[in-house]
């Protein structure tokens, strides 16, 4: 057996990426395109499954990730949102930037196809157990690749100049390199979702994503419906485990049962669960020879829990950083810190501000949420969730002392 046989892997790569989700495959595509020898290690036997995702993706993220519209995975265009405060007096939001509800199973495969065409290797059904650590010339620990358990149950070593940890919410590989990727339970929402068919929503509302808020129905989170067709949608929930009295599934089931107008004749075609890391991103998602991207580094929008876009954006920055480091033959933490610097500037600081908005929103009672809906219009909601002008809101809330007090506490 030689390295040249089609199914054999090299012993050494420029970049090894752990995890073949959207972040991992975009990193692989970019690295391979830059001429780097790239390997993706994926523990699942098939990319894209199981799905643990609401499957909403803004068009802006597609541009950032350099992805074009593809009817194979862009299931349905969304043109805005309908938000229901606890009293269900809904607010329609029509932002300029639209998006798609995607078919994640197909999406992940297509991304891998793109990366494969550029020359990246994929090793499936293989678990990355830990990083290879060696001492570098400065006497520090340097990551030099990964030790894996392959689909034959064999333990093998694959060496690389750089490792990118893109192994998602249950990330372990970065921990073996000394980066704490764990989530405190208060920052991890429990997610549960059904894909359902034969739904009965007014037709003119099925191009909007629907968001239902309230401590009664989903403490510390929200319920969503993202449409894939007129009568097909992902209907899901996120709840904060420290606030919830029941399981996420129980909250969702009860809520669905209370809304026969939408769900009376519905059938469930898929069940999905997952953890949504909503805490602050990891401050320094890198070490000697390793970078961490996506959910593994908590790069998630803390308001809506979306993480695909953030992961793909970080993947591109990590690939750029890897190319530079390899050119300079410098894989030190100092060199790789450029990745973190760029990411914080581009996205991280905004996510930190959005975290403030989340803390503010979570502090509101159901009554105050109803009130909030009367005070701010759709532009206000958009500005608030983007955290684009937080100071402005301190003024807007002046007429409602309780909300203003909470805003003063959280939005500063």
């Amino acid at each position: 057996m030689t390295e040249n046989q089609p199914l054999n892997f090299k012993k050494e790569y420029d970049v090894i990426i752990v995890g073949g989700g959207p972040g991992g495959s975009i990193a692989a595509r970019d690295c391979a395109e830059k001429g780097l020898d790239t390997l993706v290690i994926e523990k699942r036997p098939e990319l894209g499954t199981p799905v643990r995702c609401g499957e909403g993706l803004g068009k802006a993220w597609m541009e950032i990730a350099d992805l074009e519209y593809d009817p194979d995975w862009c299931k349905r265009e969304t043109r805005g949102a309908i938000v229901y405060p606890p009293n269900e007096k809904s607010l329609k939001i029509d932002p300029e930037n639209h998006g798609y509800v995607i078919e994640r199973k197909i999406f992940e495969k297509k991304l891998a196809e793109q990366a494969g065409r550029k020359g990246a290797d994929y090793m499936l059904k293989t678990r990355a157990k830990k990083v290879i650590k060696e001492e570098n010339k400065d006497g520090e620990t340097q990551v030099k690749g990964v030790i894996v358990e392959n689909d034959q149950g064999e333990t093998k070593e694959y060496r690389s100049k750089i490792v990118i940890a893109a192994d998602g919410v249950e990330s372990k590989i970065a921990r073996t390199a000394g980066i704490n990727t764990k989530n405190p339970i208060k920052d991890m929402d429990a997610g549960y979702e059904y894909e359902m068919t034969n739904l009965k929503f007014p037709e003119d509302q099925t191009r909007h994503i629907h968001i239902w808020l309230g401590d009664e129905i989903s403490p510390g989170g929200y319920i969503w419906a993202f449409f894939k067709d007129e009568d097909v949608a992902n209907v899901g929930i996120g709840v904060n485990p420290t606030k919830a009295e029941k399981s996420a599934k129980q909250y969702l089931d009860e809520w669905i049962n209370n809304h026969p107008e939408y769900f009376k004749d519905a059938a469930i075609t898929e069940k999905k669960g997952g953890g949504i890391p909503l805490g602050e991103p990891i401050e320094e998602p890198y070490t000697n020879g390793l970078m961490v991207i996506g959910d593994a580094a908590h790069m998630v929008n803390p308001i809506h829990g979306g993480g695909m876009g953030q992961a793909m954006e970080a993947a591109r920055i990590a690939a750029e950083t890897a190319e530079k480091a390899i050119k300079k033959e410098d894989y030190s933490a100092e060199q790789l810190s450029e990745f973190a610097e760029k990411w914080w500037e581009k996205r991280g600081n905004q996510l930190k501000d959005i975290q403030k908005v989340r803390n503010f929103a979570e502090s509101l009672t159901d009554k105050e949420l109803n009130k909030l809906r009367e005070i701010i219009d759709q532009e206000g909601v958009l500005e608030l969730i983007e955290a684009s002008n937080l100071k402005k809101f301190l003024k807007i809330f002046k007429g409602s002392p309780k909300i203003a007090m909470k805003a003063a506490k959280h939005l500063k």
């Binding site: 523990k43 699942r44 199981p50 643990r52 678990r127 998602g168 919410v169 249950e170 990330s171 372990k172 921990r175 990727t181 764990k182 989530n183 339970i185 991890m188 429990a190 997610g191 549960y192 485990p241 420290t242 399981s247 996420a248 599934k249 129980q250 069940k271 999905k272 669960g273 997952g274 953890g275 949504i276 890391p277």
Partner: protein
């Protein structure tokens, strides 16, 4: 006391894995595994589980049905 998984309910979503302070949980071949030697029975995973598939059972309840 021991942490137990209800395999019928567990969706192997992995959310609990990153909450485990003791590294006792892992997803292997689409199945959640518990390392009882490591488990400190803190209850994080129990509280989190979206489908209540995890439970810390008292020893005397072991083997009993419908508890």
């Amino acid at each position: 006391m021991a942490l137990e998984i209800d395999r019928e309910k567990c969706m192997a979503c992995g959310g609990c894995v990153s909450l485990c302070p003791a590294d006792a949980l892992e997803l292997k071949n689409k199945e959640l595994t518990i390392d009882h030697e490591k488990c400190v029975e803190c209850g994080n995973c129990v509280k989190f589980c979206p489908v209540k598939a995890l439970e810390i059972k008292k020893d005397q309840q072991k083997g009993e049905q419908n508890d």
